[in-house]
Symmetry: C2
Subunit: 421 residues, 2 copies
Amino acid sequence: MSSKSEALAPVPERVERDLLDLARIRDPESGGWTRTVFSEPYRASREWVRSRMIDAGLDVHPDGAGNLVGVLHGRNPAAPALVTGSHTDTVESGGRFDGIVGVLGALELVRQFAEHDIRLERDLLVIDFLGEESNEFGLSCLGSRALAGELTAAHLDRRDYRGDRLGDRYTAFGLDPSGVLAASGWTAARPLHRYVELHVEQGPLLEERGVSIGVVTAITGIERMLATFAGRPDHAGTMPMGDRRDALVAAAEAVLAVRREGCGAPTHGVATTSRLSSEPGSPNVVPGTVRMHAEMRSVDSDWLSSAMRRLTEEIRLKAAGYGVEVEVEWSRDNERVPANPAVHDAISGAADTLGIAWEPVPSGATHDAVHMARLCPMGMIFVPSKAGRSHCPEEWSELDHIRTGIQVLGATIMELDRTHD
Amino acid sequence: MSSKSEALAPVPERVERDLLDLARIRDPESGGWTRTVFSEPYRASREWVRSRMIDAGLDVHPDGAGNLVGVLHGRNPAAPALVTGSHTDTVESGGRFDGIVGVLGALELVRQFAEHDIRLERDLLVIDFLGEESNEFGLSCLGSRALAGELTAAHLDRRDYRGDRLGDRYTAFGLDPSGVLAASGWTAARPLHRYVELHVEQGPLLEERGVSIGVVTAITGIERMLATFAGRPDHAGTMPMGDRRDALVAAAEAVLAVRREGCGAPTHGVATTSRLSSEPGSPNVVPGTVRMHAEMRSVDSDWLSSAMRRLTEEIRLKAAGYGVEVEVEWSRDNERVPANPAVHDAISGAADTLGIAWEPVPSGATHDAVHMARLCPMGMIFVPSKAGRSHCPEEWSELDHIRTGIQVLGATIMELDRTHD
């Protein structure tokens, strides 16, 4: 670690001003800080991000997939480039830090490099990825997915609940769908060296342990479940309790079973039922059909697959006890993606040199890093989230922690700049 | 009991033809046999009912509330009149018997009286009540409620989910809302003697006990619950299980508590959760808010009120264990209405004389009889429902049981014709 990296002194007030300025660009009709992909506030915010990139001295190239790519030119343009970044879109009624810290933190780092006369050997690409949050088409990480060549024509044909096509949303946003699908071309022509993403933890572990830096070990696998319960719609006033086949009672047992399975996870594992919908819903009819959406996540793939089996079996068994049939369908949303060990060690080594306490942590959320890991070795740096809150207006990270995160990001980038495959 | 009543021989084929003819008048866009109040099929069906009333020799007076009142003139027009009838509207995707058997059965009885030269002392009113089934305005028994003077201007101001006013639906159906509110006038001017309603059981008790006649003891009280669970919407991937305040898990416990309370009822009691809705519903967010609609019914008012107290307490306690706050609101949909003992005995006496086995049964569903009980002593006759199914296309009652029901109705009417207050 060079003494130069220790000299980096990110200016919290500058980052704070950027955070506040960006937070102002939001949907006034929605709660919290709402800036969903393809919305007008999002369009406006990216003009702002683009101009802040230029202010920081980056050479900005919007790519065909809607990503904003800011290039800090290194001494050797032929060397595979370093990449950092994150996203600036939010969920509905979201917060001011998720994703945003990774983009605005990278901009402060670029300013630091300039102020301390640090010039990297490699180009450093700062990317604001298009639409990382899951959208109404059931798809997350639009921009990084496209870069990794994982966005397909079938994805563009997906329709939202209004019947609108995803491809048409791209077009309305000013992006040619064929250009979106071809966007991975530039990453093929321009080899990438390492990807490091700074992000808020979105969970309470770092705060609980009193450390300001988390070094991500792996990004969670996500398995989603749709369980369809088929009972019998009977008159709620006249059908005796013992003769019923109540789909909602069977589903309630399943909700509790999902929770128990999550609570029993040996390391990081969570299980959540996010939605139940029952039919017919009339106040005087026993629910005959229930659809239940749930998910399980873990960085332990073995536990995840055994938990899925156990849960499916328990849901079936409990439902059968109520005379209810159930179909349980699983779909893999994300396979577990481990951080690259060398990148992990570069991050933790940088923290050690700077005298900053760190903890290895799993990532329970998915990130653009999942897709960037297809292109080059990947690592992630977490900073604490107050009370672990995220995807809500109360989402908060202390500026002091963000400053520390930028310091570690800078030292890591400088270290990786010197490594060669 | 006169030998005349024993001579009544309702013709099943005639009733069957009427059932089939009426069933044909339905909404072709909906499942089962759908003829909801105010719909075009309902309008057409009531023209058919009206003409069948005239064919049977009744003098038909549609009243201001949309009820079809067919009068069989007795020898003494000044004597308080006997009333029978039911309704011919259905729930969405409903059946061919609920309500309909009471109207078409009464028409067969009127034809029997003519064929056997039986002339009553009193007028007999056969009423097809408007819209008995609960509608999208959350109101049931429109016609009988109006007759009893229990339909209010506030009811007419209710709006459905589209924002349409109930009063405007009456107007579009050709009924003047002020006339609807004034319809109870004719019952004040024209005293009623007794009300007897023939209906399908809609539950399995009679079939299970192998008897063809149920004599209703009481019509159930109905208490409806709305429980609102306030937890905290957290990121489903990053918030550890132990730190969550999951509103849906608390609601699932409540669904099971509702069921347990229903199962523990000493006599007739049922408890049903009909609907859950959770927010925000995103696949990666822990549900922060859940609204739960449930109801409890019993003909035992003491049990009902104690069960409500126990259930409220248990739901609160369980929710608190998950860090979830819950507001439980109860509203009384129907107070328990007992059958008049003398009318009950007239029905059971008629069955005994005819040599027909009967059982006293509670009514777990509400009926027009609830409101008619405000106007005069009331009783109800049930015939078995196959497997207890109702409010669904599979709803079925055997013609032979319907024939027996008409016989008992006829003998009861003849007996009550002779009673004086």
